[in-house]
Subunit: 358 residues, 3 copies
Amino acid sequence: MNLSVAEISRHVQAIVHGDSQFIVSHLKSLEHAEAVDISFVNGEKYLAQALASKAGVLIAPYALVEQLTPHCIVLEVASPYLAFAQLTHLFARPVSIQGIGETAKIHKTAKIGENVHIGDYAVIGEHVVIGDNSIIFPHVHIDSNVTIGQFAYIESHVTILAEAQIGEYVRIHANTCIGSEGFGFAPYQGRWHRIAQIGSVRIGNNVRIGSNCSVDRGALDDTVIDDGVIIDNLVQIAHNVQIGKHTAIAANTAIAGSTTIGQHCIFGGCCAVAGHLTIADHVQLTGMSMVTKSVSQSGTYSSGTGLLENSAWKRAVIGLRQLSETPVSKIVKQLNSLHSRIEQLELSKPFIKPSNDE
Amino acid sequence: MNLSVAEISRHVQAIVHGDSQFIVSHLKSLEHAEAVDISFVNGEKYLAQALASKAGVLIAPYALVEQLTPHCIVLEVASPYLAFAQLTHLFARPVSIQGIGETAKIHKTAKIGENVHIGDYAVIGEHVVIGDNSIIFPHVHIDSNVTIGQFAYIESHVTILAEAQIGEYVRIHANTCIGSEGFGFAPYQGRWHRIAQIGSVRIGNNVRIGSNCSVDRGALDDTVIDDGVIIDNLVQIAHNVQIGKHTAIAANTAIAGSTTIGQHCIFGGCCAVAGHLTIADHVQLTGMSMVTKSVSQSGTYSSGTGLLENSAWKRAVIGLRQLSETPVSKIVKQLNSLHSRIEQLELSKPFIKPSNDE
Amino acid sequence: MNLSVAEISRHVQAIVHGDSQFIVSHLKSLEHAEAVDISFVNGEKYLAQALASKAGVLIAPYALVEQLTPHCIVLEVASPYLAFAQLTHLFARPVSIQGIGETAKIHKTAKIGENVHIGDYAVIGEHVVIGDNSIIFPHVHIDSNVTIGQFAYIESHVTILAEAQIGEYVRIHANTCIGSEGFGFAPYQGRWHRIAQIGSVRIGNNVRIGSNCSVDRGALDDTVIDDGVIIDNLVQIAHNVQIGKHTAIAANTAIAGSTTIGQHCIFGGCCAVAGHLTIADHVQLTGMSMVTKSVSQSGTYSSGTGLLENSAWKRAVIGLRQLSETPVSKIVKQLNSLHSRIEQLELSKPFIKPSNDE
């Protein structure tokens, strides 16, 4: 890439310790950086690794500047991890989709903004609106009446249906489906009667949805993903779910229908959240958590068993089954009762300590 | 939409209490309905909400008619939820795919029924059969020799392979793959030797499969999904699985190979069902159930731990590990033994109760 | 198919017991084979089933030849399951994609090998390299600078991005995405700041990836899947994961970022492996395992609770919660203390056994 230290420091608002004319080639991990590369030191615990790194330039916090300057050029910043995040955008390759593919099928009533790039074989339906500076990859299908704000980034094979309303700076990764039909059926006389879903999906600004996700349209009201929410891959968002601002959801998690999730929550991967619940703001779930009741207090929650060697696990599972027959509370009660009776015995008069000479 | 109460009542076979000429604009939830809208009251527990609703028309059971008629027009039905399901079809917008897209690539040997709609860039292979009144979205790929019955609805980016046989009134949502290769490999001398899968997939009538699902073809015999089965998003159906009539499977559940599932089962989300099992009819699994053995009795089954505050959870996990070393049965045995010995002590002759004056 | 026993025996290196001119029609399961079909007997436990089968030809190990030859033609092999795997390739139908679809959009700088088949509406970007004898299904999008070795098999709606490097004999099933952006965000002042991912994906030879999978590109370094790895459907491989040779991963499993997995591991379905861990070679995880710490010893590991009838499960969950308050170790300590005190009492002098005549 060949960027000078001066350019980089302006981009991340850093104080330069060393040669600001030095030319940087790549952004690399501490481990793989060479003398022409830049890397970052995310706090004191990476100091030893930083001192061992061959990187010619390091982004570091104030506290580490003195120790690092003898070894390399240092860019001092308040948050090295944030500076690293900002820097990645300088070093990322531009997207390959340029202009509007001649085979993109764009309905004549669609309103495509300025400087929009659309890949080959994309299909854009009637009355669709796409904001300025958006990038639509090949094979995307945006169905009629969908509205997408400016600076959207929508990867290949994404499907957007249900007249979804999508904000600005939204990124949707490959093979994800927004606005397919919610799983709503009325059981009646042993049959499932389909409930046509007539709600939609509303997605705020700065939302990120990973690849292979499903975000269903609402039954009557809308499914809502608020500003700044980030969602990993293979995540299920059922109909009428509402997700509050700046919440993060890791891969393979499923949120069942009509559940409302607060702001600034962080859900680990493979969580299962049941339907019709309310989860408070600032709730963190560790990976594989099973949520069957509403959570009203912020905090960190978990479920699942730890990993055990297989035969120990089998015994633990039997133990758990036994617990369902003999609760711990009952054991404690029995222990207490035995304890009292022993105390009584010990206190009883004729009692004589056994002698050693016996 | 502007439908009269009379038209609506005919559609759901309701008795009208009030003005049958009243014109309804939308079908809404009790909460969001306005005076021109219709909503439904799914039993007594929604009565308070119904009385507070602004809806001009309510669908309700006989038992609530008297209480509701002073407030609005009432459509009396046996099952308000079923009536609601039926009503959604009146208010749903028509699908945007009309006619056969000029860029749809349909093999000349394919047999396309009457009144079939096919989106742009769909690819339909050799000898494919598609029944009357079916809707195929853009970018669908239906590979050679697949047969699909009438009134199919197949959303964008669906892939259908393996000469699958699909019944009537089947709905397959976006980005789902039917008939990809089962995960079959023979381990031999530290390598995995691929077993080409030569079975197919057979799907009955009135089946619904959500978005981003995988239904693999069988190894030798077929994978079979019977009539009336409904499947949510991101569900894995492995090779040679058989699913009985009217079973429902919620999102992110995985069914491993050669497992047979009965009729009228309901599986919650995120369940994992191991391979080569048999699950009886009318089995219900709560979300995140782990099934490692066959289930021969109908009933409701569960697994997993509840959600705990993180530090309590850590202690519970340690507790479970300890259970694998010290089973509850052993504790109970020890308790019983101590109990007998105390009893013996208490019964022993010279024993004198401690006096209070001591 | 009509293959002679002689041809088949050459293909699987079998010794023929019986008529080598016999013509075989299909490869079938023991249960469904007819007199014109071939099947296989995978060890002694299938002997009874084999003797009951109508199959005209059976592949069997040496140990069973004598018992089977009175009933049918026997092909004796060292590993019947391996021979079956090899045989499936003879009986599999050829792939429908032939030649290069006239609508395939191939950039003029792409290098397409000899005898490559590409389906309609596939999009192949700038400087892409595709090795000889590869098959690319319709609607595949291979973005610029991706390299794919010979004999690749890439199904419909696959997306390959990030200049991924893919080896020989790689199979990628429908709707899978390779090289989408890793889930990397720097949290700062309540916002998520996107870390553009500038690493890539490297996939070795003979790798198999199922349908609807997500394999993300690395943040700085690459995500790596080594030779011979097999991955089922709906699997999440996060950024910077490394998977060692010949490891197998079943459906719906998620591996979080920067985790390194050894060689010859076998992970069951629906496992969740946390990020930044190291898993040793030859580790087996049973289905739904939750891995939150590194595993340094080969062996089989498990987690989760067994399946319980719902009301027993509810009691077990309460039991587990109680364990977090009253650890088993504490109960054992109390039992031991009571035990000593009883022993003391029993040993104490004046103690007289209760007489029966009392």
